[in-house]
Assembly symmetry: C2
Homo-oligomer: 201 residues x 2
DNA sequence: TAATACTCTAGAGTAATACTCTAGTCGCAG
DNA sequence: CTGCGACTAGAGTATTACTCTAGAGTATTA
């Protein structure tokens, strides 16, 4: 049995995906979740609060997918490839959720959950660092701040993901995986590491 | 003297920047532009239409800034650096406009202007290609599709820009210019293949 | 069993606001 | 002057996010 709260969150995601935040009415969400007006405003004080809760929940799922990619130690090139594939795969297989995270949610009504978002972000950063730090230490990865590293891995992929999520581009972003990985490796992997024996990709 | 139309567009940008699309009321925009309700709905059929018009206008300014960066021929590294700096500079110096383009505007109500957006995008792509194609031909730039090239240049920079625009990060994204350029050069510039006699495909 | 307290459900009611409608004003060509 | 198109004006309407009061279900305590 599902709770009214869960039903409303699921209904919210579906309606936001279909109509956008603007077009989505509380009535539509309530109807889909078969919840009364009173229930809605008891469980969530406002439309924005529902949206914020949904944001954090989906962000957690996304982060879990990315963290899983580098949860076990692996080489520089292998890890870079896994991170990029994890991002692309999650976006495509969780299209609705990705659309919500990257297209629909806006910082304006995320403000209340900004703190929680920061906390989740730093947990993600830590997980990536646990994998990355030893490789930087060994000279396999070029030294750069976690933020810059992250931007090199996710940034280019995200361009394709956003184009696909918005409908501007029909092509599956995973088609670009290999070339994106090749570019990212050139950007962040130390050239000597390429010729060194050891890790295979 | 400014027209009511220009006043409304300027007022729209200001109010959207302050309150977001949601929070912005037509009344607030009208008041700031000193236009009547009738004028507003005569000139723009709806709030979304104003938003869409504003989107295209600002997109054109952004594209102009980027195109200017590679309007005169220059080397691979130089051009990559110029493109990245042009993006970062425009975002920081036109914060309001950038915030509107990258944070506030949504694909849902851009639909009506989707066609115009595509046209502008392809004009940008062509301009970049005019600079890039000869360099690829000479083996100075690695071969890749325009879309992938663009993703390598803009993608990582955009991560920092979005964080700054949303207020998630206080640091000026231009501080990252040098490292972003260095990474992008490794990603897309051919390593010392310049002097090789060219076999063409 | 009965009283109590608390969580959640219910739906009518309210205020705000995007948008409509009718009636103009202004400038100008004939 | 007269008619005409572009624009202005603001009162009116329908929708919708949100409030309010009442009550049902459930567990706890006497």
């Amino acid at each position: 049995m599902t709770t009214a709260r869960e039903d409303l969150l699921a209904a919210g995601l579906a309606v936001f995906d279909r109509d956008g935040f603007e077009g989505a009415t509380i009535a539509a969400i309530r109807t889909r979740a078969r919840a009364s007006n009173g229930s809605f405003f008891h469980l969530f004080g406002s439309k924005k609060e529902l949206a914020g809760t949904l944001f954090l929940e989906i962000l957690a799922r996304y982060h879990a997918a990315v963290i899983a990619a580098v949860s076990e130690p692996c080489g520089a090139r292998e890890g870079v490839a896994r991170l990029i594939r994890a991002h692309l795969d999650w976006v495509v297989t969780s299209r609705r959720e990705a659309r919500y995270l990257f297209e629909i949610s806006r910082s304006e009504w995320t403000e209340k959950v900004r703190g929680a978002q920061r906390a989740q972000n730093s947990r993600l950063a830590e997980a990536v660092q646990r994998w990355r730090a030893p490789l930087v230490e060994r000279g396999e990865l070029l030294p750069m701040t976690p933020a810059v590293f992250f931007s090199q891995i996710i940034g280019p992929a995200q361009i394709f993901c956003r184009a696909w999520l918005s409908g501007r581009d029909r092509a599956d972003p995973r088609e670009q995986a290999d070339i994106l990985i090749a570019c990212a490796i050139r950007a962040v992997v130390a050239p000597e590491a390429v010729h060194k024996p050891g890790e295979t990709v």
